[in-house]
Subunit: 294 residues, 2 copies
Amino acid sequence: MTLSDYGVLDRYQTRTSTPRAQFERVDPVVWGRVESPELATFDRYGYSVIDALLSPDKVAEFSTETRRLAEDPDLWLDERLIIEKKARRVRSIFEVHKLSAAVGDLVRQTRIAGLAEQILGSEVYLHQSRVNYMPGFTGAGFYWHSDFETWHAEDGMPAPRAVSLSIALTDNHPYNGSLMVMPGSHRVFVPCHGETPPDHYRDSLREQEVGVPGQDDIEKLGQAHGISQFTGAAGSALLFDSNLMHGSSNNITPFPRSNIFLVFNSVENTLGAPYAADEPRPTYIANRDFTPVR
Amino acid sequence: MTLSDYGVLDRYQTRTSTPRAQFERVDPVVWGRVESPELATFDRYGYSVIDALLSPDKVAEFSTETRRLAEDPDLWLDERLIIEKKARRVRSIFEVHKLSAAVGDLVRQTRIAGLAEQILGSEVYLHQSRVNYMPGFTGAGFYWHSDFETWHAEDGMPAPRAVSLSIALTDNHPYNGSLMVMPGSHRVFVPCHGETPPDHYRDSLREQEVGVPGQDDIEKLGQAHGISQFTGAAGSALLFDSNLMHGSSNNITPFPRSNIFLVFNSVENTLGAPYAADEPRPTYIANRDFTPVR
């Protein structure tokens, strides 16, 4: 049983047994007041690039810190650590703001959380934090998706009033699996076809298989919006809307990629029961402590 | 038994049971005299881009022609037609210069074969021709390799005195699986580790698995030479040395890629017995009719 089975209003129905057409989102994109010049085009494109968010010194510090975590034997059996099938290497570590004091401090900095507050127009809390490691040679990409679609279906996030900040710890080239986005696609909600299987998150964090958008939908968005890549030096960051369509190719180059990934949600948009899954996902993936940052 | 088992001199030993280190190639890159300005940097980088080799009209003509071939039921059981595992679609059609009169005419044009002659310093013949189709959404990439390594090991090509011309029939973006090359890597031969299994070509045309360079070698080349991508509008072409290290990522975008791929070999570099395989590959993959083009 899901919320919609009980007749609860669901403006973003997804994971339905019959396919549904994509539609214009009703919620705003910018809920607050944009003051940082870097965020000027956020409303239009659904993302903004912030160059040199971290200095080279800080990049080095965080790289050491996140490498330390990936190599910490105490975490090997921790479920917050996700292993990549093909490469047999660490792909992600969740709740990194709790595992690393340095990342925890970073989250609380005004210039970080403040970016999210400008867009979301309220206090914000951390919905998810992780560090991602995409190895060279065998780095698996991930297929097109909207994060909000998953957070709504599986975590019970009511509206697309959340933003993600991806901070590059390595240089992003066009050819090493850097993030591809469809600028403007954040205004279109693409319902996914098919019901969520139990414990879906265990597989979906490794490889997206269920709950992915249809090719017709991606084709339509691709024709309408085109594709941009988030490239740039280590230390640069991408802030993007929770409903932006994005994905990445695999990485066969010798140049690995890693980043810190922070998701801020509005305190006025806290999680309820999942809209299209039997059980909510674990709190290390979808935090249910809604205490505002700071 | 292979040629080297008989004590035949092999300056490019590969597919050996013990790993061998990469080494500087002894043969020249440019054997003739470069006259076309587009080829000015061929010697240095191992490739040249020729913008607008085909006009938009010709691109449209060849696209129709190659689509016709991919859909021709008479070819479905033809072994020259290669099917991609994952997408269950046509990946390549070999000997396309015989299957299509238009492609046959193209090969014989002075401005096409002439490019190869300038580099190779002799008359040239067609070692291989094919059309490649990389679908959107599920297009598989291919791992790093030198074509010459395969042509030497499996086809008995003595020296890297051959060039490939890849003519784009669709736009090449940085994100839809376009060719990645390591500029300057053509001067380094990377022996591959492991003996060639029988009928290796049947699998290797779909997915490279055996006879691929080691990660240490790719790492070293990547650090020394970096990576460039062949991007540009449909109709542009890349002429590249047979020993240039190249590969491509997968293509999850809605934008498919297709190209005509022509390999010219010097008539002074014709094939003998394979250097590291029991049997030569079929002639639709490695032509043994050495009649010069024109």
